[in-house]
Symmetry: C2
Subunit: 347 residues, 2 copies
Amino acid sequence: MTSLAAAGLDLRRGRVEMAHGGGGRTMSRLIEAMFVDALGNEYLRQRGDAARLEAVDGRLVMSTDSHVVSPVFFPGGDIGSLAVHGTVNDVAVAGARPLWLSAAFILEEGFPLADLRRVVASMAEAARAAGVPVVTGDTKVVERGHGDGVFITTTGVGVALAGVEIAAARVRPGDSVLVSGTMGDHGVAIMSARAELGLETEVVSDTAAVHGLVAAMAAVAPGAIRWMRDPTRGGLAAALNELARDAEVGVALDEPSVPVRPQVEAACELLGLDPLYMACEGRLVAVCAPDAADDLLAAMRSHPLGAAAARIGEVTGDALRLVTMRTGFGGTRVVDWLSGEQLPRIC
Amino acid sequence: MTSLAAAGLDLRRGRVEMAHGGGGRTMSRLIEAMFVDALGNEYLRQRGDAARLEAVDGRLVMSTDSHVVSPVFFPGGDIGSLAVHGTVNDVAVAGARPLWLSAAFILEEGFPLADLRRVVASMAEAARAAGVPVVTGDTKVVERGHGDGVFITTTGVGVALAGVEIAAARVRPGDSVLVSGTMGDHGVAIMSARAELGLETEVVSDTAAVHGLVAAMAAVAPGAIRWMRDPTRGGLAAALNELARDAEVGVALDEPSVPVRPQVEAACELLGLDPLYMACEGRLVAVCAPDAADDLLAAMRSHPLGAAAARIGEVTGDALRLVTMRTGFGGTRVVDWLSGEQLPRIC
């Protein structure tokens, strides 16, 4: 174990330097003191460029995500916890139990070492809470003006849950559409952290690891879960439009059933945005056989991350593959793909 | 399959826009037309956020690397091929057969789509040649001035080769140190691609996937291979100093035995650099039981990537854990850790 001071890292005033990515002793010390100790586990302490893991009984699942969220710190989380949750969730909603993560950091010269330590500590805490260790990593440094503080790419490997088969091709008209909680909290939390938007709200990000929730669902009706996704960039609308395209179906939503916090609704109204397109980072949307919907909802609601779970609509045979929504006023509107973008660098 | 034109991508004048990372239809089209088609394989065509893979019989190995090489295109390769080779090699020198790769792109707004296509095509070609498919990926876009064209993070998963155990703890004084080819070609190729250095040389990068070479070595003497590394950032010097630290040994090199191209030697002399610290991207350094060195060298030399393989020194019991080198003139010098950095963004 190398202390930060012994590694020549001044946490009060120190900043990332080009040498921290140079392959020499300076880099070696940064990695030891900043990453290995905080994330500490038997795999990282092997100190190779690769982690030697155990054998796994079952089909593997793999997912990767770069995280470029801006700002790095936001209400309810930061890029470190987000980078764990984002990839754990991608593995989980593929119907798998996440086992291991890798983490690759691209640091910008000048990024405060104190901020880096805060990000790594948050990543370590999220990984511990999720029970998914960061087993291997990488650090690169780019010159000032060629990055933006810190980008983190995490990759997750998991093992398929027995009896669960997530595939758009299994989705049928009449299937139920469920969500695990309120939509858009993460997106609004990021907006409120961007000073230039002048948005004041108390909404915090929903960022969380949903693999426990998925396991709870799989425990009651594994075969009935046909498709899942975590509605991140582009929100619920993007996730369901992808489903409609890939499964060659339509989706009919019922607006009053879609859980949205009043503060999220208000913030979106103020900025002319739609909560259906706002990113979540700790929610899932699932399509299931209709006769299993009640059991799955009950399982979700008895999990801390699924208290506000709801059935929000159903799959249709619409040949146009549209996602539509019956509004609270009795009308129907098309929930189209997001054209352009609503808010960049949300995750 | 979506053609580039049908996806609204103008290869002649088009550039990456923020919407290409926004989660909407524009992003979906970019991914389909630019990535899925070029890298095309059964896993990517599942179109989820995660790839469903097969079960694996044996211990897994996992490694990740962000690639931020500058410039993106250099003699002998580009960031696309490098991102495949870099991670395939990290998995290979851990004593494993690489099975799958993930690839996460961080694109800077304004990066030419034609350059992106060239990078993806090169990545696809490298993955095909290596027989290691890119099974899942991610695309993020950051605003102009917050990135540098393209960064690519690849993560590799492999399965341990039977009978091979790579561990610094297995290294003993008297062991032989082998390299698979000339040192420093990649570093000099990158330098020659940086106009501001004014270096003219015909050296091309050695970038290549060494897993076939590792398999050839494992076929003749699996148990005799005690430690391996690909000497990238910080070159041979960094790799051997890490070995000395982790194995608590010294290393004595014989300068005339270390293969270095005359052009690399000349370029380094011109710029006041040392080939021992220059990155390679298609070489490996191995430590083996001394009585197996000849067999392993013969196996390496009969592989296309090992023609210039050489025994360059031996492990010592030096309590100071120094890497030293007997020079051509009969003296001895310490090959210390690189302090500071020799050349940033080499990989």
